[in-house]
């Protein structure tokens, strides 16, 4: 275990709880992370001492609140390598961030002959909005193939890219396979297509294809610099990175965002309004209609400061170590190795730990019969261990692998090797309950 990481559990008050008579082992941070006391305190402090609407009231509290909101935006922008904080739009979550792009950009830029490319491993949030858009516009949705090793087939991407491709949208880290996708490489391939398009002059000065990255499973777990990645949009959620639920971010290149019409309209995003017409305000307010979640933004900035104090490199290293450890342990469940009888675990996703984020989906088999993920999760819960089971909002990829459901464990900064040991021990209970099934 990395020095200093053992003690982080104490920063998270929820770990004082007992679950079904056991101390909690929380292995579901990919669904949502627990919140450190500092983040909880920042929410209470905001509402107790500073609460007022932003950019409106000319009074002390209004000023304080506005300053806190702006400063939160600055903190989060710097955290992911953005120099111009106006490019960072506050939304509710990753799903809303992607929908913002689909509605405000997609509806105005996608036509009947256009193509959109996503990958086969996408979360529904980066699939369903595009499906709806292509149906409406009679456009085409294509998929980057996922190989048997659980990585993206980049040759397949090259083949599918064409002058018709308007946008490519992929996950930075898969929430099911755990794969870390090579975004910089994908961006390079896309740039080659942009150059080709320019040469053919068929699309004068085309900025296409654009690249959107779903960073929900990346930002909490590794250093992310959106400028280095070479993408045009980057979406992520606050609640998976130790911040509050209900706040997330969309980053976009300023020129693209400026050319886009608003997503939602109403208060807070206008310059002038008369009875017939409205002139919209500038970034980022143009995309933040209505009273924003100021406390959420303040809380998320506090989460960012908490992560910065630990260091993202160190967090990544911690999760690599835990992932290595759990894979080793799962492959080596004692006394059953090499036998068909007994407990068996099948792991999905890349075999190289360096290619994976800190999450692992697997199926459990007892005497050759698969135990349903929900049953696995329930038996683990009875021993105080929280995991996710089901299709994790990635149904198409489960279908492709012939799976109905899997069990997923995912790490946060508070997890330890002892947590893994307890998981492995608890998995053996499944064998006790379900043995004797033919």
């Amino acid at each position: 275990m990395l020095k200093g990481m053992q003690t982080l559990t104490k920063d998270f008050p929820l770990f004082k709880r007992q679950i079904n008579g056991h101390p909690l082992v929380y292995l579901d941070s990919a669904a949502t992370s627990q919140k450190p006391q500092a983040v909880i305190d920042s929410l209470v402090d905001y509402y107790q001492n500073h609460n007022a609407n932003v950019h409106r009231g000319i009074h002390t509290l209004g000023d304080e609140s506005t300053k806190m909101y702006d400063s939160a935006r600055q903190t989060i922008a710097e955290f992911i390598g953005i120099s111009d904080k106006r490019e960072l739009i506050f939304v509710r979550n990753t799903t809303e961030a992607i929908n913002l792009v689909v509605y405000a950009w997609g509806r105005n830029n996608i036509g009947a002959d256009d193509e959109i490319i996503v990958s086969e491993m996408e979360h529904h949030s980066n699939l369903v909005p595009w499906q709806e858009l292509v149906k409406e516009k009679k456009a085409t949705l294509k998929f980057i193939r996922v190989t048997n090793e659980g990585v993206l087939d980049l040759d397949d991407l090259k083949e599918k890219l064409s002058q018709r491709t308007k946008i490519v949208s992929v996950a930075h880290v898969s929430n099911f396979l755990g794969t870390i996708n090579p975004i910089a490489e994908i961006s390079k391939i896309i740039n080659e297509q942009k150059t080709k398009n320019k040469k053919q002059k068929s699309l004068l000065h085309t900025p296409y294809p654009l690249l959107l990255i779903d960073g929900a499973q990346a930002v909490p777990h590794m250093p992310v610099n959106v400028k280095d990645l070479g993408c045009d949009f980057y979406a992520f959620s606050g609640h998976k990175m130790y911040g509050p639920m209900g706040i997330g971010c969309l980053w976009g290149r300023r020129k693209i965002l400026e050319a886009m019409p608003p997503f939602l309209t109403g208060g807070g995003m206008i310059n002038t309004v008369d009875f017939q017409n409205t002139i919209f305000t500038d970034l980022p307010d143009k995309f933040e209609a209505g009273t924003p979640d100021v406390a959420g933004a303040v809380g998320l900035a506090e989460a960012v400061r908490y992560l910065q104090k630990i260091g993202m490199d160190k967090i990544r290293q911690h999760e690599v170590e835990l992932t290595k450890y759990v894979i080793e342990k799962l492959y080596k469940i004692p006394a059953f190795a090499g036998q068909k009888l007994g407990l068996k675990i099948k792991i999905f996703g890349p075999t190289e730990v360096e290619q994976r984020g800190g999450l692992i989906a697997f199926t459990v088999h007892v005497n050759g019969k698969e135990v349903h993920g929900h049953d696995v999760a329930q038996v683990l819960d009875s021993q105080g261990i929280a995991v996710r089971s089901g299709h994790h909002c990635v149904m198409p990829m489960h279908d492709k692998l012939g799976l109905a459901a899997t069990t997923r464990i995912s790490f946060g900064i508070y997890n330890t090797k002892e947590d893994v040991d307890r998981l492995v021990k608890a998995l053996k209970k499944i064998e006790e309950i379900f043995e004797g099934m033919a």
């Binding site: 929900h374 089901g390 299709h391 799976l403 109905a404 209970k429």
Partner: protein, 127 residues
Amino acid sequence: MSFYHDLIIDHYKNPRNFGTLDKPDLVAQEANASCGDLIEFQIKVKKTENRKQKTMINEIAWRGVGCAISTAGASLLSERIRSKEYGVKKIMEMTDENMVEMLGGDISPTRLKCATLSLRALKKALK
């Protein structure tokens, strides 16, 4: 470990009335897409011989894939239907709570849709 008590595990391991019928009158499937669970009921009906001519279940079978709770639920439900003279009307009046009771009463809210899948499939067949 009260959740996976003997009754549930017994019905999961040895599901009753599992299979298909020859020329069933009614067939319906119901799925919990989010779990990947799928249950199909096959039913043969008959009319009562008294003047009321009530529609009764004559034979019942089911098949499908699912977790321990949905499998045991379907098994227990089919057994209940077979063991008593159940009219269609009475089945249509069965509630989610009846399913939870049948499964021993200890079903957590997140597993309720597993527990009630079979009842939904059966009602669909009888509609």
